[in-house]
């Protein structure tokens, strides 16, 4: 017997209310289509709120030499040329307008003396390019979009988790999920869906990401038949907190280094001299993360097994003004005054460059009616993302996916879409199984085991042997996780919620493992000890691709889109 469920019909459903999802919804609404915005947490709490350092846009307010071409080249070089060139181009060209638009919607960036938006230096960016508000840029951005969104006639469905995409033949026809509060099911019949669900960090033990980062969007896309690309490209941010244990993994923003912070090992040596003497601390994240990891491995780690990051040589008032959250974070959680003493840091899982394969202009995936924007989408950042390029990505491609989805929805006759009741019934049964199962596993335990596996086998440095072992461990865990048991009612039950999250996490973990094994080279964030060099001939021209074939996960490669000559020339010209 199927239980009753409520329905809400819209032209477009946006899943996720971070920077990307809100920007999508604002655009869909501006295009005159009806839009529903669904998010797992309360509005205004999405991950974007945690972003610290800034948003990259070639405004040239501080360094007059900046332009979109330079931003484009920096982004491509940072991504080790694995980026979708068209996305990188649109991003560099449109980011300045998106930032100015944000300002018109109420964002208050720090200012230059001339009264324009202030910009700071960040790793891999040639010029001072990151617009910021101290070190709480994400909060400023998310709150601005939230304010704009609530006054744009968007229907917001908060604390509602989407569990499945419903299709009519090839096309998207709706989404279903549950209310966290009541545990009741809800169905959203719709013409188009935009995924804006963010990343996957919670599959790792040490991460800067929140509990929401369980790879739901990647899993929804995969299950609906869409392709995922470059899933091996997981960014380990070089500087996460390591002590005390309670805060292990919490981010220490790159802005610390942008403002002049220095990295040292236990011997007091400024070790970046060895790894990247030209860029030093402001080298790209993949390089700095490997450097810290190597220093610790070779016995030159700090007291708690990391590196020292020191900003205490700077004026203490400036540190407090430019890095207020970092000042409080270390004071409150680690009893360290960063204006007087160094911080201890170690790499932490931060971001996934890979994700749903999308068309650059519209955010369209390979499934009709399914779009993606933000961290859940792949391609823009290649094999390594530059700091600040995510927040700008959210705005540029959020707007584009909004236009793309609204346009697509206009061409679909709602009456032609049918929702398959039997599919809903099947999904409901699967979701409710943990209440009925007896003697199954505790989802929290499975989650911890997953995190241990990912941390041990799929971390900063990878080898064929370890990857193989990890994949076997994951297979065993999947069997174990097939029967889960939980306690309590359906009302606001996190244990039950975790059961569905685990399904996403297991799929995403497998995708990362399989593609990491496939790519037999090192490129950007993907470092293979057994293949330490980049192999441009064989691997520099392909994306790895994951898609679903029956019940099997298929792994393959596909050629990178070819960059036009006028853009190629930018890399050879001396500027």
């Amino acid at each position: 017997m199927m239980e009753m469920y409520e329905t809400h019909t819209h032209d477009v459903i946006v899943i996720g209310a971070g920077g990307a999802g809100l920007r999508v919804a604002i655009e869909v609404s501006a295009q005159g289509a009806s839009v529903g915005l669904v998010c797992k947490s309360l509005l205004g709490k999405a991950h974007t709120v945690m972003a610290e350092g800034g948003i990259a846009a070639a405004l040239a307010n501080v360094d007059a030499g900046d332009d979109w071409e330079t931003h484009f080249c920096d982004t491509m070089r940072g991504g080790k040329m694995l980026n979708n060139w068209r996305m990188a181009q649109l991003h560099a060209q449109e980011a300045p307008d998106r930032v100015k638009e944000l300002e018109r919607w109420g964002a208050l960036f720090d200012r230059t003396k001339e009264g324009r938006i202030m910009q700071r230096a960040f790793g891999g960016h040639t010029w001072k390019r990151l617009c910021h508000v101290g070190d709480r840029t994400g909060l400023e951005m998310l709150r601005t979009l939230q304010d704009k969104g609530v006054h744009s006639g968007i229907d917001v469905y908060m604390e509602c988790t989407i569990t499945d995409i419903l299709k009519d033949g090839d096309r998207v026809a709706g989404a279903m999920g549950y209310w966290r509060e009541s545990g009741k099911f809800v169905v959203f019949p719709t013409k188009a869906i935009v995924l804006a669900t963010g990343g996957i960090g919670k599959i790792y033990k040490v991460t800067s990401n929140s509990w929401e980062y369980t790879g739901d969007g990647q899993c929804l896309a995969y299950s609906a038949g869409a392709e995922l690309i470059d899933m091996e490209a997981v960014q380990f941010h070089p500087t996460g907190m390591i002590w005390p244990p309670s805060v292990k993994g919490i981010l220490v923003t790159e802005a610390v280094r942008g403002e002049g912070g220095i990295l040292r090992n236990s011997e007091g040596q400024r070790f970046m001299e060895k790894y990247d003497p030209e860029n030093m601390e402001l080298s790209t994240r993949d390089v700095v993360a490997r450097a810290i990891y190597t220093e610790v491995q070779e016995g030159r780690g700090s007291t708690h097994g990391g590196a020292y990051l020191d900003i205490s040589h700077k004026d203490s008032e400036i540190v407090k003004r430019k890095l207020p959250s970092m000042y409080h974070q270390f004071m409150d959680f680690a009893d360290i005054d960063i204006t007087k003493a160094p911080m201890e840091v170690f790499p932490t899982t931060h971001y996934i460059m890979g994700g749903v394969r999308v068309e650059a202009e519209t955010g369209r995936s390979t499934v009709p009616g399914l779009f993606a924007a933000g961290e859940v989408a792949g391609g823009m950042h290649g094999s390594n993302r530059l700091g600040g390029n995510s927040l700008s990505d959210l705005l540029v491609f959020g707007r584009r996916a909004g236009m793309g989805a609204a346009e697509y929805a206009k061409g679909v006759d709602a009456g032609s879409l049918k929702i398959d009741e039997s599919q809903i019934e099947l999904n409901e049964k699967e979701l409710l199984a943990p209440f009925e199962n007896t003697g199954g596993q505790n989802p929290y335990t499975i989650h911890q085991e997953l995190q241990d596996i990912m941390q041990a086998y799929f971390g900063v440095f990878r080898t064929e042997e370890r990857l193989q072992q990890g994949i076997e461990e994951l297979a065993k865990l999947r069997v174990k996780a097939s029967v889960l048991t939980i306690e309590g009612s359906r009302i606001y039950n996190p244990g039950w919620h975790l059961c569905r999250d685990l399904k996403s996490m297991l799929i995403v973990s497998e995708a990362i493992g399989r593609t990491a094994l496939l790519r037999k080279e090192s490129r950007g964030a993907h470092s293979r000890v057994d293949y330490p060099d980049s192999d441009n001939e064989n691997w520099g021209k392909v994306n790895t691709v994951i898609c679903k074939h029956g019940d099997e996960m298929k792994v393959d490669t596909s050629p990178l889109p070819e960059m036009p000559d006028e853009l190629k020339r930018l890399f050879t010209e001396v500027k």
Partner: protein, 243 residues
């Protein structure tokens, strides 16, 4: 390893509830949220807790700990007397959903009623000196602890007539914006219900972002409203002077 006793309020809407006792190991630097997540993973998988960032940045995890209001992800266990049980309760001002989770949707309804920023045409030029004071208000992480403590809402339940301190600073931020073109004083005095605030400063005391809600927002707003309603001439002069 040291241990602590945590008494957590457990219950669902309309059914009331009771304290349940749990024992958790205490680690260096541990926060109350760590203890709650430990309870979830080991004793009560269905314990309802709201949290996201675990870094005092998102304002999701507000609760009442030993009768004091705070973010559970910021409250260090070693700041509490662990000889006694630590008591963790949900926010009292908002309707209970389950355990530590309350229904805060009323706040989002208020947000909708405040006219948004309306800039003039053209490039926006602003100087740091002009925005310093409103940037303070923009630090708000919407933890709703100030709303929870304010006696107008908590004791007198006047959600129908007072927007609460969080939205007083929201309005202050817009009113003091150097480029905004809308006047919200009518709203403040009318539906916003600023007259209900009698400057007890309890809101400022609980704000995890240290926003000087009363001194920097509410008092200056009250002065402006007073000018507007009792001294229209001064109000016009200010308007002409651009502030």
């Amino acid at each position: 390893m040291a241990e602590a006793t945590i008494m957590v309020f457990r219950g669902e809407a309309h059914q009331g509830g009771e304290e349940k006792e749990y024992t958790v190991p205490v680690q260096e630097g541990m926060v109350v949220l760590d203890a709650l997540l430990y309870i979830q993973a080991n004793y009560a998988g269905d314990l309802a807790v709201r949290w996201n960032c675990k870094a005092a940045k998102c304002g999701s995890c507000s609760a009442e700990i030993n009768g004091k209001l705070g973010l559970t992800c910021k409250m260090r266990m070693d700041s509490l007397p662990l000889e006694e049980p630590v008591r963790v309760y949900p926010m009292k001002t908002f309707p209970l959903i389950k355990d530590l989770v309350t229904d805060v949707s009323w706040n989002y309804e208020i947000e909708k009623r405040i006219p948004p920023f309306a800039p003039p045409e053209g490039e926006l030029t602003m100087y740091q000196e002009d925005i310093d004071r409103i940037q303070e208000f923009r630090k708000c992480i919407e933890c709703f602890l100030c709303q929870n403590i304010c006696h107008v809402l908590r004791t007198h339940d006047r959600k129908d007539s007072f927007f609460g301190p969080r939205y007083m600073i929201k309005i202050a931020e817009l009113q003091m914006h150097p480029l905004d073109t809308v006047d919200r004083t009518e709203l403040l005095n009318g539906d916003g219900g600023m007259g209900f605030c009698n400057i007890t400063k309890c809101c400022t005391e609980v704000c995890p972002e240290n926003i000087q809600i009363t001194d920097n927002a509410i008092i200056p707003l009250k002065e402006r409203v007073a000018d507007r309603f009792f001294d229209p001439l001064l109000w016009i002069l200010r308007k002409l002077a651009g502030k």
